[in-house]
């Protein structure tokens, strides 16, 4: 079986390795950097910045921890970026060597579908080559969405990709869009010393999360003195005197050194030949696939951001594995019912399964349990007491339906709930399971106990 994969992000490269493991002969085509958005402009670089900014935040508490500082602590943005580059390079090399070890051929150039079996690759030197395969997987990803009225100039009006080209920490930063990307960068740059303002069209920050999570995040943003305007539509954005002027409907003007537009993602489905071979696209330009990751053209699959579902690296990887298993003779259907997801704000946010409102809308009678990190000794030990967990369960079956966490290490803590939901475990299964003391994992157990009003470390209700 010969497989050609266009795009080497977390969808494409994982698919490539899986396919090689299952015995396929794999060619992967990449016209930018191996690892895609996730590794080069997304997940990994932003988390490197988060690591630097959180370390800086910690140093503001040195005295509280009983450590004296004799001198000054100053963030150096170019060194922060240098560290980020080092991390990214190590990971890129890692993927390249995995390709080598699994005998995967990497073609560095732009791939365009010319038939359901052929991809024309324009290599870096301009020469062209045809890659012929039995099956093709499109994994071309997405890019920052450009609002037509406010195009990126890469200097003053920037995208999330441009952030990594900044030479210094902006004195003031306006962020358009309080979604995942906007809120992550707001926290990073606020900790690094920028004066940060966010404007959001919807009624709350991280609007896809449970409302209680949004409320708590908004309070934390307020504590950091990040200004957030919700229910506000940007009317005009102009660069004048080398600064950005943003005008809001109430004639309010915001002036900032830079404006970061994080208003969603656009799908990379143009200029890759999908129209030519008759692949169906949706209204937003996303490639339409079925549960087996098949497009309408037999033998051509699509995975990851370009199919426009949940724009998450681990979802792309799972879709890649599903596509490959089907190509190799399996009969796999993707299941999106249990997708853990994290937002690396400070504090972190993570969620899996149903929100209370979603469950109620589905007609399920639910119970909820809450627990605050500040009621946990370990949270005090590490000096990070902000946050809470909310657990949603089915009143009839006692099964866990969803978990929503905002607090330290939320992104690591969510997986106990993910496994519990996927395997149909109950609240009792969690409460009966010992959780190590003192650890942050105790929040899940206490929240499960709280479903029945019996959290040990919460006052009587």
């Amino acid at each position: 079986m010969k497989i050609a994969i266009i795009g080497s992000g977390p969808g494409g490269y994982v698919a490539a390795i899986k396919a090689a493991q299952l015995g396929a002969q794999v060619t992967i085509i990449e016209d930018s950097e191996v690892g895609g958005t996730c590794l080069n402009w997304g997940c990994i670089p932003t988390k490197a910045l988060v690591a630097s900014s959180e370390l800086l935040a910690k140093t503001k508490e040195l005295e509280v921890f009983g450590i004296e500082l004799k001198g000054k602590i100053v963030p150096n943005f170019s060194k922060i970026i240098e560290r980020k580059n080092k991390i990214v390079n190590t990971q890129v090399k890692g993927i390249r060597s995995l390709f080598k070890s699994w005998g995967i051929t990497l073609k560095e150039g732009r791939g365009i579908l010319i038939s359901p079996e052929d991809v024309e690759v324009t290599l870096k030197d301009g020469s062209k080559e045809i890659v012929t395969a039995d099956k093709i997987i499109i994994a071309t990803g997405s890019r920052p969405f450009q609002i037509p009225a406010f195009p990126f100039d890469g200097k003053r009006i920037i995208s999330s990709d441009d952030v990594f080209k900044l030479k210094e920490i902006p004195k003031s930063l306006l962020i358009i869009g309080a979604g995942v990307i906007g809120c992550e960068f707001a926290c990073i740059f606020r900790e690094l010393g920028s004066d940060v303002t966010i404007i959001e069209m919807l009624s709350r920050a991280v609007a896809t999360e449970d409302i209680e999570i949004s409320e708590l995040l908004e309070r934390e943003l307020k504590k950091k003195k990040i200004k957030l305007y919700t229910n506000v539509k940007l009317e005009t954005l102009v660069v004048r005197d080398d600064v950005v002027h943003a005008f809001l409907p109430n004639e309010k003007e915001i002036v900032a050194g830079k404006a970061l537009i994080s208003a969603g993602r656009a799908f990379n489905s143009n200029g890759i030949g999908v129209e030519k071979i008759g692949i169906q696209k949706g209204s937003r330009g996303e490639i339409i696939v079925n549960e087996k990751m098949e497009t309408n053209v037999p033998g051509v699959y699509a995975i990851g951001d370009v199919i426009g579902g949940l724009l998450l690296a681990h979802v792309a990887s799972k879709e890649g594995i599903t596509a490959v298993k089907n190509i190799m003779g399996g009969d796999e259907k993707i299941d999106y019912s249990v997708v853990p997801a994290a937002i690396f704000t400070s504090p972190e946010i993570a969620s899996v399964g149903l929100k209370e409102q979603q469950a109620t809308e589905k007609g399920i009678k639910v119970r909820t349990g809450h627990f605050q990190f500040r009621a946990l000794a370990k949270a005090h030990v590490i000096g990070e007491i902000e946050g809470m967990i909310k657990i949603v369960s089915d009143e009839t079956s006692d099964r866990i339906l969803g978990a929503h966490i905002i607090g330290p290490h939320a992104s690591d803590l969510i997986h106990e709930a993910a496994l519990a939901i996927r395997t149909g475990l109950t609240i009792k299964d969690i409460t009966e399971t010992m959780h190590t003391h003192p650890t942050l994992s105790e929040v899940l157990k206490e929240a499960a106990e709280d479903v029945y009003g019996e959290a040990i470390h919460a006052p009587k209700k």
Binding site: R219, K222, Q372, R374, A375, H380, I385, E386, P459
Partner: protein
Amino acid sequence: MNPDNLQYHKEHTWVKLSGKKVTIGITDYAQDALGDILYIDLPEVDTDVEANSEIGEIESTKATSSIISPVSGRVIEANENLSESPEIINEDPYGKGWIAILEIDDASELDDLMDASEYTKYVEEEVK
């Protein structure tokens, strides 16, 4: 002790009436139950609040808790000193730790509140 010149709400807030204005704060019992106060989300000036509704939030080392307004009115001042030094509430809940000043239209709402001795009794009952 709970001062005699104040009136008290069952959600552990107090009011002090002077003309058409009232000052609001949380009681000594509330600050003691919360423990060390770390942050207060103050009400915004010029917002209208309803009696028995939330006007802000307090975070302590132990808990986060809503501040319930004992009366209806318009917020005309919030105690900005608390933003930087929320521990003032622990130190002086009936004085420097006041939270907001409201302009009220219906002073009769205060009739529903408890006086100092009623509140003291109420707290004793709650502790039991």
